[in-house]
Symmetry: C2
C-alpha cells in the first residue's frame, strides 16, 4: 500500500463524462489499496471563460481580485469530482488551497509556496477517504487567495506530495509520458521510461511541454518521484526521479530486458521550440563595460535570455557582434529597447531574424562525451542545415536553425543518436511495445 | 456620512453591463460621502448552471461538496464587481463569507449564522475602500464552506449590517419596493414608504416575494433598518423598520404631507400565493388524542402547516372534519401520508382541493379593530366569492379562495380597505407620484 498524489489537468475533467472517468480511475487506485490525494485543475476552458468575462469589465484587473476570480474554476471541478467519486461508492472530500494548508507569499498571479501544512488532508486520508485539492491556488499570510501562475496545478501536486511524504506524484495527462522527440514530428520517437530530474528540467526548459519546469524543480529539490502518464490508459508512463530504487522498480515493466536498461544512452531525447527569433547587435565597440551595458538594457526588456553568442568579426576592427535567441515577442521588445539606446551603446545596427526554431538534445550521458557535438553537426550538415547559434550546458546542446528546416533536423539528429524505435511497415513498434502513439506528443 | 450595506441580487449583476451599472451606483454612494459594504449574489443563472452540472454527475450530491460548488458563483461576481469599481476610480476589495468573518454552524445547504466578526471589512472601510462580500455563504467551525439556503444573500447583508452597526441595509432589487398589492394584479396598488418589521414579516410569509422572511426576522431581532429599493432608479423605496427615527426620516420624501403619514391605516397591504391546496380529513372520530395523531402524521410529511380549520359537521355525530391549506406539493404528500394511516386514524376519507389560492391582508392597525373581518367578508361576498378557509393572526387575516377568483377578490379587498392609488385616465397616479410601475410587483 502506497500514498499517491494524482494530478489531473483541465482536459481530463473538461466535462461531466471526463469527471466520471477520472473518478473511476481514482476509485480503482483506492481499491488497489492505495491512499489517494487528488489535485485537480479547472474544467476545460473555465479559466479562459473567466478571463474573457474580466476583459468585458476592465483592461487592468486588480491582481488580488483576479486571483480570487480565477480560483473559482478549481473550486467547481474539485467539488464535482468529490461528488463523482462518492457516486462510485468511495468517500471523498474536497479542499481549497487554503484549506489544504498551502501557504504562499502574496505575489498575486505568481505566488511562491512558503509552507504546506496538509493537516486536513492527512486526516481525510487517515479516515479512509479520498482527499481532493484545488490546484493552482494557495493562501497568503493575510488569508487572501493567491494563484501560483502557469503550471500551478502541477506545482500544487508536487508540493502536496512532498509535504505528505507521498510515494509518488502522478501527473495524469492526455499523452503517454515523455518521448525521445515529439511523435508528431518524429514518428519513430520512443517513450522514455525514466528520466533524471536534470534531464527532465532541460527537456522542459527547452520545449517539451508535458511537465512544467517549476514542478520539476520542486520535485527535484524535495525528492518527489514524478510519474507522467496517460489518464486514458493504465500503461506506465515516464518516471522523473533521481531515486535509484524508483528507477530500478520502473524498469522491469517498461524495458524488455534488464540489460537494455543498464545502457546509458548518450542522448535521452530531443526538445524543440518554434516561434523563436535571433537578435544580432552588429559592430559593438569592443571597450570595457559595453557588453555589460547591452545586457543591462536587455534584462530590463525581456524575461529570459537564452543562447548568447559573441563573434569577433575581425580581431583588428575593435568591434564585436552579439547574437542571442529568444521567443519572438521578446525578441521584438529587445530590438526596440536596444535601438532606443543606439547612440549611447555605439553599435551600427540591430538585426532580427524571425522564423527560426531551437532544437535541443538532452542526456546525462553527454556529460563526459566529446563525440556529441561531432555527431550532431555531422547529422545537420548531412542534411545541408545551417546552424545560426549554439549553446551548451553540461547535459544539453541546443542549436538554432531555420524553422523550415526544423523537422528535417529533428529526424536526422534523432537517428544519429540511435533514438529511433524500430517500426514495421504498418508503423507498429517492432519491440512489441503496446504503446498507442495516438495520444503521444512530447511537444503538447 | 453614514455606513450603508448594499445588497445586489443576481438579476442586477447578470452580465458585465449589470456589474458596471452596480459599480457606478456603489461609486456614487461612496462619492456622496458614505462608507459602503456591498453584498453580492451570483451572476444571473450561474447557480442554476452549477446545479445543472451537478445533475450530470449525481442525483445525490454530498451536502458539503454542493455548498463548496455553489459558492463559486458569488466568488466570481464579487471579484468582477471589485474590478468594475476600481475601473470607476474607487478602491475596492472583495471577501468570501469566511474572509468576512461570517461563521455558521455546519448544516450544509441551510447553515445558521453563529457569529459575524467582520474585522477585515471594518479595516477595508477604515482604509477608505469599498468592501465587497460574497452573499449566501459562510464558514463552519471546521473551516468548511457553508451556504445559508434560500434568501441567503439578503441574510448575509442584514447580518453584516448588524455586526458593522450600519445605518441601513439597502436591498437593491428590480422592483421599486413593497406595494399594497402586486401591481400586476392590482393596477391601483401603491408603493409603501414604511412597514413595521411585523408587517413585512406577515407579508413576506404569505406571498410577497421581495424580501426573504429570514432576513426580515434577522433585521427585526438586531434592529437593522432595511431599505428595499430599485437598483435601476434613485427613488426611495420601502423602509422596513420599527425605529421611529428612521420612520420619521423616511416620511418627508415619500409622503406629500406629514399629516398623511400620521394616519395609521387599518390594512397596509395585501399578499397572495397561488399553487395552494386544501386538504380535508373527513369524519375523524372525536376521541381524545386523535387530532394529535393526525397532526403528528402531518408534521412528518410536510414542512409547514398553515391555516388549520376544524368543523364539527354535527355535534351529535361524534366525528369532526379537519381542513388545512398548504402548498400544492406538500398537500399531495400530506394526503398520501394520511391515507397510509387511514385504518389507525379511523377517518372515512381525505379530499384534496387543488386550484385554490390564499389572499392575506396585513396591517398593524388591525390589532384593535373589530371591523376588519366584516369589511373583508363584505367585499368578498359582494363579488360572490366563496371562502374555503380562514386564519388570522394579530395583524393578518388570510382567506383561501378559488384560484380563478383570486384576482377579483384582491381588487375588491384592495378597494374596500381604501388602498387604491387614484389614477387618471392614462393610469398615471393623481398624487403626482413619479413612481414607474413598470418594474413594480410585490409578488415577484
Amino acid at each position: 500500500m502506497a500514498l499517491v498524489v494524482q494530478k489531473y489537468g483541465g482536459s481530463s475533467v473538461a466535462d461531466a463524462e471526463g469527471l466520471r472517468r477520472v473518478a473511476r480511475r481514482v476509485v480503482a487506485t483506492r481499491e488497489a489499496g492505495h491512499d489517494v490525494a487528488v489535485v485537480v485543475s479547472a474544467m476545460g476552458d473555465t479559466t479562459d471563460d473567466l478571463l474573457d468575462l474580466t476583459r468585458h469589465i476592465t483592461d487592468r484587473p486588480t491582481a488580488r481580485e483576479l486571483d480570487i476570480l480565477l480560483t473559482a474554476g478549481e473550486r467547481i471541478a474539485m467539488s464535482l469530482l468529490a461528488m463523482a467519486i462518492h457516486e462510485y461508492g468511495q468517500p471523498a472530500a474536497s479542499f481549497t488551497g487554503v484549506q489544504a494548508g498551502l501557504r504562499t507569499n502574496d505575489e498575486y498571479g505568481r505566488a511562491r509556496i512558503i509552507e504546506v501544512s496538509p493537516d486536513r488532508i492527512r486526516q481525510t486520508l487517515a479516515d479512509g477517504a479520498v482527499a481532493i485539492v484545488a490546484g493552482f491556488q494557495g493562501g497568503s499570510p493575510e488569508d487572501d487567495v493567491t494563484t501560483l501562475g502557469r503550471g500551478g496545478s502541477d506545482t500544487t501536486a508536487v508540493a502536496l506530495a512532498a509535504a505528505l511524504g507521498a510515494d509518488a506524484c502522478e501527473v495524469l495527462t492526455d499523452v503517454d509520458g515523455m518521448f525521445s522527440a515529439d511523435p508528431r514530428m518524429v514518428p519513430t520517437a520512443r517513450q522514455l521510461p525514466v528520466l533524471s530530474t536534470e534531464e527532465a528540467l532541460e527537456l522542459s526548459a527547452h520545449g517539451a511541454k508535458v511537465l512544467h519546469l517549476r514542478s520539476v524543480e520542486y520535485a527535484r529539490r524535495h525528492g518527489v518521484p514524478l510519474h507522467v502518464r496517460s489518464s486514458f490508459t493504465d500503461l506506465p508512463g515516464t518516471w522523473v526521479t533521481d531515486d535509484e530504487r524508483v528507477v530500478a522498480r520502473s524498469r522491469p515493466e517498461t524495458h524488455p530486458t534488464q540489460e537494455d536498461a543498464m545502457e546509458e544512452p548518450l542522448v535521452r531525447g530531443l526538445a524543440h521550440s518554434r516561434d523563436q527569433a535571433t537578435v544580432t547587435v552588429v559592430n559593438v565597440p569592443d571597450v570595457p563595460g559595453r557588453a555589460a551595458a547591452i545586457f543591462s538594457v536587455l534584462s530590463d526588456a525581456v524575461t529570459a535570455l537564452d543562447m548568447i553568442g559573441q563573434t569577433h568579426t575581425a580581431s583588428d576592427t575593435g568591434v564585436i557582434d552579439f547574437s542571442f535567441a529568444l521567443p519572438l515577442e521578446d525578441a521584438r521588445r529587445a530590438a526596440t529597447a536596444l535601438r532606443e539606446q543606439q547612440t549611447d551603446l555605439g553599435f551600427t545596427r540591430v538585426s532580427v531574424e524571425e522564423r527560426v526554431a531551437k532544437l535541443s538534445i538532452v542526456g546525462s550521458g553527454m556529460r563526459s562525451s566529446p563525440e556529441v557535438p561531432a555527431r550532431l553537426f555531422d547529422a545537420l550538415s548531412g542534411e545541408g542545415i545551417t546552424v545560426h547559434l549554439i549553446s551548451t550546458s553540461e547535459i544539453r546542446m541546443s542549436v538554432v536553425v531555420d524553422e523550415s528546416q526544423l523537422e528535417r533536423a529533428a529526424l536526422a539528429v534523432h537517428t544519429a543518436f540511435d533514438l529511433d524505435l524500430e517500426l514495421d511497415a504498418d508503423g507498429i513498434p517492432l519491440d512489441g511495445s503496446p504503446r498507442a502513439l495516438a495520444h503521444a506528443g512530447s511537444g503538447r
